[in-house]
């Protein structure tokens, strides 16, 4: 579904930009006047100490939070606020810091749920599960199996995800986001709580998704090694403000960033 005034964005052009966004909860200012952009096809990292406003920023982008000030431009359409449904239909998928899966459903059903928006046979066909609805189910199942192969989770296809170990749950969550065939994929600490091997696997998947599907990725990550290896550009937040923005090397050398991470009196 494409809104009529949306333009097709080519690689290297700005896919999404936030301008002067501020978000507060009562007296707590989570984000203060932050602007940055994400270009089509890149891997963009958002880093910063705990409580810097990184997750809030993702929530603003995908419409869970509505900023009090500022604007979000996605695929050329300027908005005061996103709504989760608009974000999803527009091609923004995400994963969560604390895995948010449908715990009682199987891996297969979880990933199929990611196809919801791509499936559009109406309610009555669905009710009968006959004819068009059945064909549609088969066609989408094929796509989902492709993703399952890609993420190497064939063996847990039929297992309710609540029973899976954490590392695999994270992978299923990535699968569900990929099932949406997103243009922009938001990953909130995809490697948190993983061991080295799992982290390396996840890095490989992130790079593969970016190369293979050309998906633009914005990720939050605490592991600096990972960020420096993966990201094309990095934006650094601290206390809700943007303190640096640039290539990994530029950011690494930035005085403000070093201060924020090593701790200087604010």
């Amino acid at each position: 579904m494409r809104a009529p005034d949306e333009t097709v964005i080519k690689a290297g052009q700005t896919l999404l930009s936030v301008e002067n966004v501020s978000l507060s909860f009562g007296g707590v200012k989570a984000i203060r006047n932050v602007s940055f952009d994400i270009k089509k096809g890149e891997i963009r990292a958002i880093i910063g100490p705990n409580g810097a406003g990184k997750t809030s920023m993702l929530n603003v982008i995908n419409g869970f939070y509505h900023p009090q000030e500022g604007e979000i431009t996605f695929k050329g359409v300027k908005r005061k606020k996103m709504r989760p449904h608009d974000a999803a239909t527009g091609g923004i998928a995400r994963t969560f810091q604390n895995v948010a899966l449908f715990k009682s459903m199987t891996t297969l059903d979880n990933i199929m749920a990611g196809r919801t928006l791509k499936m559009n046979k109406n309610f009555f066909w669905q009710l009968l599960r006959y004819g068009p609805a059945e064909q549609e189910e088969i066609q989408h199942r094929r796509k989902v199996e492709e993703i399952i192969d890609f993420l190497e989770i064939q063996h847990i296809r039929r297992v309710p995800v609540g029973r899976l170990p954490y590392g695999l749950q994270k992978r299923v969550e990535l699968g569900r986001a990929l099932a949406m065939e997103p243009e922009l994929l938001l990953l909130d600490e995809p490697m948190a709580g993983m061991n080295l091997e799992e982290k390396e696997d996840m890095c490989r998947y992130v790079i593969d998704v970016n190369n293979h599907y050309g998906t633009t990725i914005a990720l939050i990550e605490h592991d600096m090694g990972v960020v420096m290896d993966l990201a094309n550009r990095v934006v650094v937040l601290d206390y809700g403000q943007k303190i640096a923005d640039g290539t990994p090397d530029e950011v690494k050398a930035d005085k403000a960033v070093i201060d924020a991470y090593l701790g200087v009196a604010h």
């Binding site: 899966l101 459903m105 986001a177």
Partner: protein, 324 residues
């Protein structure tokens, strides 16, 4: 006869009833059948609760009054001259309108509130529907338009083990309709996109939103489905007795069924309903006389309580395992 003095009571409880069942099998079969029919109708009511509970975690106290309201709408429309089947379609349409209204006026403003708040809101909805229903249709009991809807009436009877077993055609119809409804809903829930979306919403609102499932749309669908189940229940119950606000009480009968079957399980609602229905009838006929009868009204709750001792999550409910 078999019972001797010191063991009199034990014998009455553990021996005599089974002897009677064996001795007069035709009466036993008749009892089982009546229990089965009652159970089917309990299942239908419980089904309405389960649908809404699964998708929104709300225990919908208004399900009972929805049964009455939909049946009254059907009868009321027919009374002002609308042909029976058109009235049926219109009644279904009105349940759809109700689903939209509930979503807009009750659920949407209360999103993210604790479950108990939503539960209280369904109380409010109940009293609104009672008042609104009485205002429009009046408080007198009505007769269900059984004949106009071509629901078979009369009875069939057959010889069985030296006696006669009688079955109301109406009851047979009710059982078949309930069975069909359950089958359709079970497939719908497990095999389709919307069914999957319903289960997804039940598991996590946040994750459901992130994949583009619209909570509002899902809520409308489940309330509409529950409304349709209420309409069918209303027709079947109404045809057996009459359509009046007293029917609302049957909602309370769904509670032991839900406890037995688990709040989230469609098959559970069915099996639970049948166990309660049959248990109630068999208990009344064979064990009732020991304490002078009249146990039908509370036996269901007893069965459910005893059951809870052994399976706190219900017959088919999801086992609750918490990792610490």
């Amino acid at each position: 006869m078999l019972c001797v003095k010191p063991y009199n009571m034990l014998c009455k409880v553990f021996v005599i009833p089974f002897y009677e069942m064996w001795d007069l099998p035709d009466i036993f079969v008749q009892t089982l059948w009546e229990g089965l029919v009652g159970g089917t109708l309990y299942s239908l009511i419980a089904l309405g609760f389960v649908l809404i509970f699964k998708a929104s975690g709300v225990f919908n106290f208004a399900q009972g009054i929805m049964v009455v309201f939909s049946a009254l709408t059907l009868v009321g429309l027919h009374a002002i001259g609308v042909p029976a089947y058109v009235a049926l379609a219109l009644a279904a349409l009105i349940m759809l309108v109700l689903a939209f209204a509930v979503e807009r006026v009750v659920l949407r403003p209360l999103v993210n509130q604790p479950d108990i708040i939503l539960f209280m809101a369904t109380f409010g909805l109940t009293y609104f529907l009672i008042g609104f229903g009485e205002l429009i249709f009046g408080g007198d009991p009505k007769v269900m338009i059984t004949r106009e809807l071509n629901i078979p009436t009369g009875r069939i009877s057959f010889d069985f083990a030296g006696g006669r077993v009688e079955m109301q055609k109406l009851d047979i119809t009710a059982t078949v309709v309930a069975g069909l409804m359950v089958a359709v809903l079970a497939v719908f829930f497990s095999k389709t996109r919307i069914g999957r979306a319903l289960r997804a919403v039940a598991d996590s609102h946040k994750a459901a939103l992130s994949v583009g499932i619209s909570l509002n749309q899902i809520w409308i669908i489940v309330w509409f489905a529950a409304g349709l189940v209420a309409l069918v229940t209303g027709i079947m119950w109404g045809a057996r007795s009459e359509v009046s606000f007293a029917l609302e009480i049957i909602a309370l009968k769904a509670l032991p069924v839900l406890i037995l079957g688990g709040f989230t399980s469609i098959p559970g609602a069915i099996v639970g309903g049948l166990i309660i229905g049959i248990g109630e009838k068999v208990g009344e006929i064979y064990w009732g006389p020991i304490i002078g009868g009249g146990i039908e009204s509370w036996l269901a709750y007893m069965i459910a309580l005893i059951f809870l001792l052994f399976r706190p999550q219900g017959l088919f409910g999801e086992k609750i395992i918490e990792r610490v």
